[in-house]
Structures are given as C-alpha cells and as structure tokens.
Amino acid sequence: MSSAATRKPLPLKIALWAFVTIWLLMAAFPFLWTLWGSFKVELDFFSIADWTNAITGANTERTHGSTFTGAGYDGAWVQEDFWRNVINTTFVCIFVVCTSLTIGTLGGYALSRSGFKYVFWLLITALIFRAIPPITLVSGYLPVFFDWNVWGFLPTAIIVLVAINQPFTLWMLHSFFESIPKELDESAKVDGCTQFQAFRRVIIPVMWPGVITTGLFSFLLAYNDFAVTSMILNEGNRTMIPAIAAFMGTTQTEGNVMFAVAAVVSATAPLFVMVLFFQRQIVSGLTAGAVKG
C-alpha cells in the first residue's frame, strides 16, 4: 500500500485534492442545494425574486414562522402515501437487479469466452437493440399487454425493464469478463467443473467489482426509470418516479413541487447507505496473484 512507488509527492497530492474537491462540489452542489431547499417553501426553493431567498428562507419564515419547514416531507409521506411507491420501487429494483444480473452474467460470460464469429454479431445486434428509443418500444408493448391482460402489474414492468436493459448489461459484463485471465476457467475446468461451475465458483467471485458495478447501473435504471414505469404500471402499483412526476402537475393543473423535492431527497438516503455498503465490493480487486505472464 505505501511503498515509495505509491507515495505521492506533495504538489501532486494538492492537485489531486483540488481536483476531487472541485468535482465533488460540482457533483454534489445541486443536490445539497436541493436538500437545503427541501425544507423551504416552493417560492424560496425556486427563489425567482431573489436567489438569496433560497438560503435565508424569507418566504418560508413568513408562512411557517421558521426558516425551515417539513411541509414537503409531510405532504409527500403522510398526505400522499409516498411510502407505497417506495415499497413498489424497492420491489421492482430488487427483482430487476437480480434477474438482470443473473441472465446478464451468464450471457456476458458466454460472449467473452466463445471465440466464434456469431458472438460478434450477437454483440452488434444487442447494440442495435439498445439504439431503439425506449418510448417507441413501450408504445409498441401497450396493445399487446392490454390484450394479454398483463398490463399494470409490477412483474410485467420488471420483465420489461430487465429486457430493455439487457443489451447494456451484456456489453458491460462482457467488457469486464474480458479482463479476467482465461487460465482461471481453464484450470477450473480441468479440476472438474462444468463450464457453468467454473463460471459460478471461480469467475464470479473474481468478477465482483464488475458485477456490483453492473448491478448498480441496473438498479439505477429501475430506480430512475420513467418511460416504462409511467406507461406500464397502473396507479396502485406506481413506483416512485411516476409518483414524483405526478406531484409536479401539468399545464392545466397545479402540482406540488415541494412534495416532489422532498420525495427525491428522502429517496436518496437509502442509496447513500447502499453505495457505502457496496463500495467495498467494488474496491476489492481480486485477480492479483492469479496467474503469471
């Protein structure tokens, strides 16, 4: 960890820190601003009159007598039963991630270990598939789903999300698998593994960083998806994002933006925990010492 080779000279350290700090500021500022603003009223949050209102909460104080208010949170969670959507989202996310990873790692592994020409064409096809705008796909599903009476249910949305995301998962895992030395599977096969066992017992443990990262993206996709969930789920099964969209209103009708903001902020907290938890897995590079050459 700390040999002369890995120690950094001071100027480099400073440059590094400066860069990371600037980036963090850029990345987190809008969110922190939102977090702060979620305890304000809409007028302060958007602060059209004077941007400092967002910090001081002048209008919030006028209405609520204090510069902070939990009205947005109260509205979203208590009044609008946002927790229902959270549960739905949790359900969708868990299943999407698990299914995606299961079938995606199998496929990605096969693609990375087979040298036949069709592999390339499969990869290209997957890529072309991904090029289709999801909204077109979804509008194509609707008549069929209504016909089959599967429209509106969580499992349908899960399957659709998994399928739509497969090209991405496949490519990503394929790229990760490529970097794992072939000798590992070979040795496992000689030791008596079927291809599948070699995959499960030897490759997957080494692949954790890749799998977890891919999982993270599958998760974010399911979590952030609007195109599919808004069109395929019925109101009772709605996930967070369509619910948040509903808080925002439409041209002719009033929404409640602060509910949306509060919902967004509170939905980020579990992600924080999740990322902290999984970063260990991402960090642990495991190929060291596997093979020489």
């Binding site: 000798e183 590992l184 040795s187 096969k189 000689v190 495991l286 190929t287 596997a290 020489k292």
Partner: protein, 349 residues
C-alpha cells in the same frame, strides 16, 4: 486405466504451426516427459490432451475412445499450469480443496487429502494465505498440490518445479514419481530440465519447433541421439559437436584428428560428451588452446574453441591452467557420435 493415443495431431494458429503432426501412443501408467526448447509446442500438446485447446487436425483417443469433443472435466485429467492459474479469491487450503469440492467427493475426506497434498509440497504453514501473498515458488507448489490432491487417470504437469529450489525440487520430484507409480496413473510431464527428464521418465519425447525429434527411454536418448539437435540438447553440459570431414575412417578438423571411426567419407558432424573425454597431459586427439575455464564445484570445465564451436571437457576440480595454454584432450573413438552434416541424422549403428 488410461492409454492415450495422439493420432497425427496438429495445432496451427493461422500460418504459424505450434505442433505438427504429433503421433504417439502413451501407454497406461507410463510416465512420459516432453522435452524441448522454449516455444517448441510442449505446453500446446499438453493443452490439447487436457481439452483446453482444440486440435486443428488429428484425433486424441483415451483408451481407444475419441475424446476430441469431450469437455476437460470429462477427461479426468489433473493439470499443473505453467502459469499456476490459482484462484485468487480462495486461500491456499481452498485452492487445493477445490477439485474435491467440484467433483463431489465425500466432504469428510477433504481435510485429510488436502493436508496430505499440502504436506507433500511443504505448504502447511501457508494454508490460510491468499495466492497474492505467496512467493513464486509457493504459488507453484499450490498448483502442484491442487493437481495431486485428487486421484485422476492422467496427470498433466507443465514445468511444475521450475520455480523451486534444488532441494525441494529433488524431494518433490521423487514424490511425483512415487505418486504416479502408486496411483498407477498415466503422466505427461513437461520440463526443460533434462535431469528431471532423465530421472523421471519412462520415455522422453524430444520436440523442436512443433516436430517430434526422438522418442525413447532416457538412456536411448542419451546414448543414441537420433540427430544432432537431440545430441546437443540432451546432457549437461550438452554434447560437444564439431563439423569436419571424414576420410578413410579419420575425422579431421581444426586442432583435431580422430581415427578408427566407421562412416563414409565426406563432411560430417562429430559429437562426444564432456564426461567421455579426459584432459591428458599429451597425446590427446584434440590439442587446442584453452578458451575459458569454469569452476563447477566438483570439477573444472575446460573449454576450447574448434572451428567456431565450443568444446568442453571436465577436468579434475584441482586442475589449474591459464587461458591460452594448450590443452590436450583424449576422445575415445568408440564414444563418438557421427551425424550427417546436412540433415543432422545419426550415422551408423
């Protein structure tokens, strides 16, 4: 029971020929050593037997059964990889135990087997370590232990001792030999070390650039090399080879005249082994200035330069002389090997 037949197998990558037309039957329980210079196709041959590489041509038969299309796991071979190929996420113990686990061998016997294998390669202290925390030789020993822990029909070992020290090497070598006998398995062993080849092999295959040069018992190969390549490759130091001309049973070249040889007249290559010749005070067949001298511990190696080729003989460890001094070397004619100057093929007997 495992007799392996390799029927004219070849491996090509594009135009490059890795193994060319390899044809051999490895008898059941035979200990076969593949020997040859770096890059001659030893590993490739072994990988084809294991099923890790498809033969471009030819059939591989185990006990008369064509196995070209069988998966490695169904060929019941154990293999030590030249590059170790350890499982980086498992510790040494689990690495060794892995083949037992995946083959569904009764778990209650695992511990004993693993400990026996690890003791054999002196790894007991390191069972809890991950491969990344091991030295090169230790990793190689893990790979070895992993191969011997179960009892397969065929052992494939690709330079399994190359990173071990002499002492460990000798003892492990003995253990491998012993094991292969005891388990009565067919063993294919790749090495670049001829001592290893000599001591272990029932038969040795000498390869060069993908082509088999000679197949035979260690003594055969040592005593009757089929061509000048084998002659120069086997033995340490290698056989001395000199180009010269035969005329009337006498071989002559710079500084050299050896009589009483039976071969047709014309250009030939003559070879003899360092230990078959002696440094004598005078009257030797070779009389040349000393080119270098090396101290070997138990002997001194005296080298002269004849027609561009270096010729070495062992002298007593107390022998002392200066470079450029003349030395006389006795080469008994019955210990000489003659090879065709063009094809390199052995002449006579």
């Amino acid at each position: 029971m495992a007799e392996i037949q390799l029927r004219n197998i070849s491996k090509r990558w594009g135009a490059f020929v890795g193994v060319d037309n390899f044809d051999l039957t490895i008898a059941d329980k035979e200990f076969l050593v593949l020997l040859g210079p770096s890059g001659c196709g030893k590993t490739t041959t072994m990988r084809m037997i294991a099923g890790l590489e498809d033969a471009t041509e030819g059939d591989i038969l185990v006990d008369g059964q064509r196995v070209n299309d069988l998966e490695p796991k169904d060929r019941d071979v154990a293999m030590v990889f030249q590059s170790y190929a350890l499982y980086p996420n498992l510790n040494v113990y689990e690495n060794i135990r892995f083949p037992l686990r995946v083959r569904g061998i009764d778990p209650s016997t695992h511990d004993e087997k693993v400990r026996r294998a690890s003791a054999m390669v002196e790894l007991d202290e390191f069972l809890h370590r991950k491969p990344a925390e091991l030295s090169g030789g230790q990793r190689q020993r893990v790979a070895l232990a992993r191969a011997i822990v179960r009892e397969p029909n065929v052992f494939l070992m690709d330079e399994p001792l190359s990173n071990l020290d002499a002492k460990l090497r000798v003892s492990t070598r003995a253990q491998i030999k012993n094991l292969s006998h005891e388990l009565a398995v067919t063993t294919v062993y790749v090495t670049h070390d001829q001592i290893e080849a000599m001591t272990l092999a029932d038969r040795v295959v000498v390869m060069k650039q993908g082509v088999v040069q000679q197949v035979g018992s260690p003594t055969e190969i040592y005593d009757k090399p089929a061509n000048d390549f084998v002659a120069s490759f086997i033995g340490s130091p290698a056989m001395n080879l000199m180009s010269g001309v035969m005329s009337g049973g006498t071989f002559s070249t710079e500084y050299t005249e050896i009589q009483n040889l039976s071969a047709p007249d014309g250009p030939v290559t003559l070879g003899f082994r360092a230990e078959d010749a002696q440094v004598v005070d005078s009257g030797g067949q070779i009389n040349a200035p000393i080119y270098t001298m090396e101290l070997l511990g138990d002997a001194t190696m005296v080298t002269v330069r004849i027609g561009g080729a270096l010729v070495s003989v062992k002298a007593d460890k107390s022998y002392r002389a200066e470079i450029e001094d003349m030395v006389s070397i006795h080469v008994p004619s019955e210990q000489c090997h003659l090879f065709d100057a063009q094809t390199g093929a052995r002449l006579g007997d």
